[in-house]
Symmetry: D2
Subunit: 88 residues, 4 copies
């Protein structure tokens, strides 16, 4: 992982962890389901953005390097597997 | 929120928080992006399951009660808004 | 289905069918995969919008009527099943 | 597009077009929204499978060839853009 990607990912993860702690508090306080769901949707979107950043870093880094190093089979199989997992 | 839904949601949230802390550790240790992404996909699916449970509880509880109490406009508007947010 | 919802759905379906025929032509002419995929994503979003409209009509119509007629169990079970199918 | 991918894509498109025509008939006959929605979900899943096949063919073909030909910037930018569009 590139340093920039790693730094950005850690910042996003800290934000997501804080948001999730807020949702737990809402559930503990028995707040209205609709309000809780709005927050979990926001968390899900934050995770999707983190994934987009990680994938983008992976494509620009390891994928190009892997193919240039003659390991295109492994690299492409991983991408196809990731795509299937992402949409499961 | 019903007691069962609340209890189940708190258990799921604890699991998700633990999983997320594991992902943060992976990123801190600079592990392979593909492995990190597989974990974030699993977390996203766990959040989707939590959302399904919360929504199901909401439908069986507040939605039925709200419509029976003559507040169908508010209740249905909320559901339409939730659906739009969930798929944004 | 309400008349307005039905009319709107048929218009959307005609648009989607036309779009899909365009994609088939692109594939027959062996156009660049990336361009084909951009079109299938647009079609998928058009279907999602159609679904949102159908669901909204269903919530405002059959769901409210069903619950008011004392059939909340059936109506809510259907919604929970739909939600699970939509996110499968 | 490889011949196999193209042949497979055309078969899938024909299936999706037939399915969509069936949904239009259901809407014209004013069938129950819930049943219509179940069919549109199935169509959406069929489109997602088509996309997975197209993307897989693209990764194994054009992406590897592009990177080996020194065009990794263009190829990777396209993938990042596709990913963003797919999840919009």
């Amino acid at each position: 992982m590139e340093h920039m990607t790693q730094h950005d990912a850690l910042k996003r993860l800290a934000y997501i962890e804080g948001h999730l702690a807020g949702v737990r508090k809402m559930v503990e306080q028995d707040q209205y389901c609709v309000d809780v769901l709005k927050q979990t949707y926001a968390i899900r979107r934050a995770i999707e953005k983190l994934e987009a950043k990680l994938l983008s870093g992976h494509l620009q880094g390891c994928v190009v390097e892997g193919i240039e190093a003659g390991e295109s089979d492994r690299v492409i199989d991983e991408l196809v597997e990731l795509y299937a997992l992402a949409n499961k």
